[in-house]
Amino acid sequence: MPHERLGEFEEFTLLAVRALGESTYGVPVQQFVEQATGRRASIGAVYAALDRLEAKGFVRSVIGAPTAVRGGKRKRMFSVTAAGITTAAELRRVREQIWRTIEQQS
């Protein structure tokens, strides 16, 4: 299990990639994060987060095949790695545990 930490925005981005299915690219991730958080996210911030996630080994990317849309330009497709899934799950577990404690106290 990697010992890398995740920032809040990175976490949203990682979860967005996970939520968007097997492989996705910059645009849907940006739109997803914006919708889910209700905050504006620039594409540059999304790229930076994806780069960091990739460097930490939580996502991986490949250059996709050119398609007829986008003027034949290729996309960089991202997908979550096993480490990414584990980390996301771990984060969720920690949060839920904390919330459970809070609920029990109130």
Binding site: V27, S42, I43, A48, D51, E54, I63, K75
Partner: protein, 873 residues
């Protein structure tokens, strides 16, 4: 899509463009476009634009990481380690076209050789330190006149003796320059007139001279009456005497004297003087009396010697100057006076080769000229590389498809062209040595000058080669790796550009050839008014003040005795003989432009002796000279320039210079510049006035037959009058021939360059046209098959090749019109750099060269068999 597409805002697009995205550029831009399109529909145009700008800013501030290339990260210096592989691969590819490649290499090698030869001469003259043990210590003490401290050349021998003995800040030596023809002692050897130096005792030791063979002159050699001895300069010994080891102890001839060689100096010792005054031999001062040379005539005022010194370690220039001033005053060489007139001061000038603005101009012009040759040869390499890249389209696209970056492929291709250029450069070094040898063998330079190639020349050659390689390889490489490479239209355009550049460079070089040749023809076909083979010049100076008969009596007697000799037609005295040395022009200007005017002071007989033809008026008479009448004779050009109304006769010369006020013009003679030692001199006019002071007079003698036959009798006649004088004789034809060397050399150099330009242009045109025809063979075949006429095909080939050449021709001539003024000061006989005849000749030659280059390919095009082409389909 309906309606016109809305573009993202310009600011954002510009930000994306300047952002370093590398291989992420395409996907990032596509992502941003997609976002923009979506927002346009959802949020509206204004918001979409705002958000696009914000996104672009965020990407610009923090660009996404680029993909690491390949499975291994390339180390930073990998391009260095790639070079050997690239070179080997390139050599393998180029070997397949050995013929064309070697042609391009030889062309470029000749061009680089020429450039390096010019540079190595410039290097020897301007950049090498003086050839003495401690060049930084060399000083030249000079006397100065007035408060402006104008230097006076030379010191009296009697002053020098005192100063040398007493100086404590500087080790002083005195010397006297002369020029002689040195032979090997077994008769005449075809050697140029070289500089020699008579030097004071211990002079060579002061400057740290060592010998490779024999010894320096010793105490016995400097005794009065000792037989003359000489030490030879290394380069002279090696090049003229072929490094003959037995020369020490033998005698060589200097003009008609025999001198024993006692040693050969070590390589690199050339003495403390300027490079072009490097002596071929060093002799003790005593020998100036006995050796047949023009001692005292060259390099200074007759009767004086030059003072040179080496500063002692603890002394500074101001200290030396102060000490030498007090010594000079003590010796009576300088007379301090409160008004500051006369010879009042001493200036100690540091030694070293001065790089003047004039030198810089000449060097720039020469390097531009040879640079054009390199450009010309470089375009040949470029068109070779272009053809090469085109032929390797498959290979290039495969490499690109496999993931090689465009930069990597460009690097491979330019490595190949740089390799070709470096090969050419190394052969060019050999050519450079030949060119330098050729240059010295046509008497341009003294064989004593050390022109060996040193690290500066090597660096220059490598630099030029790499530059030529990059310049000629980059365009084809960029072209060949472009996405649309292989497009025949683009290819033709690139080739046309090369042809145009080549034509422009060629026509510029041809124009230079035409201009310099015209100048040579003009200057050598001038009317002299006399046969230079039938006029001799005799000088009888007394450099060491040993004359026994005073000047006035001596010259009267000499003229009388010479006139009585058989075969002598006339005798005159003049302060300068025609085609000897150089004149100091009268400083004047006409309409604000410096005007070159020589003041020749001569006896009345001079007009008859050198055959001046009077257009108007008369010569001055003996009576006028005796009574000191202020009369002058001028050349026709002078009369035309200063008195355009034709009223020169009787006019006063005060307008030319104040001190000439009151002097009247009484005659106008035909034009003939009396010396052509420089382009400016060759257009000079003359002012002839009576000779009053005989101190520096030359005796000019016209003879019935060849003047050379009378030289011994002339010498004997003078020695019989005064044996204490150093007699020198020469025929004017020799001086004229020597002075014609200037324009001749320029014309020859320009001729070589022009010839090279023609050859390179023909080869270049041939290469490009042949390639076009070979590549278009199929098209030609098809066109012939569907009914095109052969003549039509040939016309098309000729047109497509000549059109760019014509554009280059016009561009080249245009450039010449604009920049020609730069060489105006190098053209003899006042030929204009915009001379229409030269322009016409250059253009005609260029057209001929271009036509010659396309004849064979055009014939090939006409001979294409349509059936064969169709069968190949």
């Amino acid at each position: 899509m309906s309606g016109p597409a809305v573009k993202p805002p310009l600011l954002g697009r510009l930000l994306l463009r300047v952002c370093r995205l590398g291989d992420r550029r395409d996907d990032v831009r596509a992502d941003m476009q997609e976002l923009f399109d979506t927002r346009l529909q959802v949020l509206g145009r204004k918001e979409a634009r705002r958000r696009f700008n914000a996104d672009a800013r965020s990407v610009w501030l923090r660009p996404p990481a680029r993909t690491p290339r390949g499975p291994w990260p390339r180390p930073r210096w990998s391009w260095v380690t790639d070079i050997p592989d690239d070179v080997i691969y390139g050599a393998r590819v180029l070997r397949k076209q050995a013929g064309v490649v070697s042609m391009a290499v030889v062309g470029l090698a000749v061009a680089i050789g020429l450039t390096s030869a010019v540079f190595s001469v410039a290097n020897a003259f301007n950049f090498k330190p003086l050839g003495v043990a401690e060049p930084a210590r060399v000083v030249f003490p000079q006397r100065t006149i007035g408060q402006l401290r104008t230097p006076v050349h030379g010191w009296g021998p009697e002053h020098v003796a005192v100063m040398r003995a007493s100086a404590r800040t500087v080790a002083l030596g005195s010397s006297l320059e002369s020029r002689v023809v040195i032979g090997d002692g077994n008769g005449d050897v075809a050697a140029p007139r070289v500089s020699i130096r008579f030097v004071s005792d211990g002079f060579l030791d002061i400057f740290g001279a060592r010998t490779v063979a024999g010894r320096l002159p010793d105490a016995a050699d400097v005794q009065p009456g000792a037989p003359p001895v000489a030490v030879l300069n290394y380069e002279f010994w090696r090049s003229v005497l072929n490094g003959d080891p037995t020369v020490v102890g033998r005698s060589v001839s200097m003009n008609r004297s025999q001198v024993t060689v006692v040693g050969v100096l070590a390589r690199g010792f050339t003495g403390p003087f300027d490079v072009n005054r490097t002596p071929a031999a060093w002799l003790p001062m005593e020998a100036a009396r006995t050796v047949d040379s023009l001692a005292g005539l060259y390099g200074g005022t007759p009767g004086t010697v030059e003072l040179v010194g080496s500063l002692f370690a603890d002394a500074t220039l101001p200290q030396a100057e102060a000490e030498l001033l007090s010594l000079a005053i003590g010796a009576g060489a300088v007379t301090p006076n409160p008004e500051g007139s006369g010879v009042t001061g001493v200036l100690v000038r540091p030694g070293g080769n001065e790089f003047t603005t004039e030198d810089a101009l000449i060097l720039t012009v020469l390097l531009t000229i040879v640079g054009l040759v390199v450009v010309l040869a470089g375009t040949n390499v470029a068109s070779l590389m272009l053809a090469n890249v085109t032929g390797r389209q498959l290979e290039v696209s495969t490499r690109l498809a496999l993931g090689a970056s465009r930069g990597r492929v460009i690097r491979q291709l330019t490595t190949e062209s740089v390799t070709v250029a470096l090969a050419a450069g190394s052969i060019g070094l050999v050519f450079a040595q030949w060119f330098v040898a050729l240059g010295t063998s046509v008497f341009v330079l003294s064989p004593a000058i050390d022109l060996s190639l040193d690290w500066r020349v090597y660096t220059f050659v490598v630099g030029v080669s790499v530059l030529a390689g990059l310049a000629s390889g980059l365009t084809p490489a960029l072209h060949g790796t472009r996405a649309a490479a292989g497009c025949p239209k683009r290819e033709r355009r690139s080739q046309s550009r090369l042809v145009a550049v080549q034509a422009a460079a060629s026509v510029l070089l041809l124009l230079l050839t035409a201009l310099f040749t015209r100048a040579l023809v003009e200057v050598s076909s001038r009317e002299l008014g006399f046969d230079p083979n039938r006029v001799a010049v005799l000088t009888a100076f007394s450099p060491l003040k040993t004359a026994t008969v005073p000047d006035t009596d001596f010259f009267a007697l000499a003229q009388e005795r010479i006139l009585a000799l058989p075969g002598v037609r006339g005798v005159a005295l003049a302060n300068h003989a025609p085609y000897e040395g150089s004149y100091t022009p009268v400083p004047t200007s006409l309409h604000g432009v410096a005007y070159r005017l020589n003041n020749i002071k001569a006896t009345p007989a001079f007009f008859g002796v050198v055959g001046y033809r009077f257009l108007q008026g008369r010569p001055y008479t003996e009576d006028e000279v005796r009574t000191g009448a202020k009369v002058a004779v001028v050349t026709a050009g002078f009369a035309r320039d200063w008195f355009p109304d034709g009223n020169a006769i009787g006019a006063d010369l005060g307008a030319v210079r104040e001190y000439l006020a009151g002097m009247r013009i009484i005659g106008i003679v035909t034009n003939a510049a009396p010396h052509i030692g420089s382009p400016a001199a060759s257009t000079s006019e003359s002012l002839l006035t009576p000779l009053m002071d005989f101190g520096a007079a030359r005796i000019v003698i016209s003879t019935e037959g060849e003047a050379v036959a009378t030289l011994p009798a002339l010498r004997d006649a003078i020695v019989a009058i005064d044996a204490g004088r150093t007699v020198n004789t020469r025929v004017v034809a020799d001086g004229l021939d020597e002075q014609l060397n200037g324009p001749r050399i320029l014309a020859m150099l320009a001729g070589i360059v022009g010839g090279l330009a023609v050859v390179l242009a023909v080869v270049g045109m041939f290469g490009v046209t042949a390639f076009t025809v070979a590549a278009g063979r199929r098209d030609i075949g098809i066109r012939l098959a569907i009914g095109a006429s052969r003549a039509g095909v040939v016309v098309e080939v000729v047109r497509s090749s000549l059109q760019p050449a014509a554009i280059g021709l016009v561009a080249g001539l245009g450039l010449a019109l604009i920049g020609g003024q730069a060489i105006a000061s190098m053209l003899y006989a006042g030929i204009s750099p915009r001379d229409p005849l030269s322009f016409a000749i250059a253009a005609a030659l260029m057209i001929l060269a271009a036509a010659a280059g396309i004849v064979i390919p055009a014939r090939r095009a006409a001979a294409v068999d349509p059936v064969e082409s169709l069968r190949a389909e």
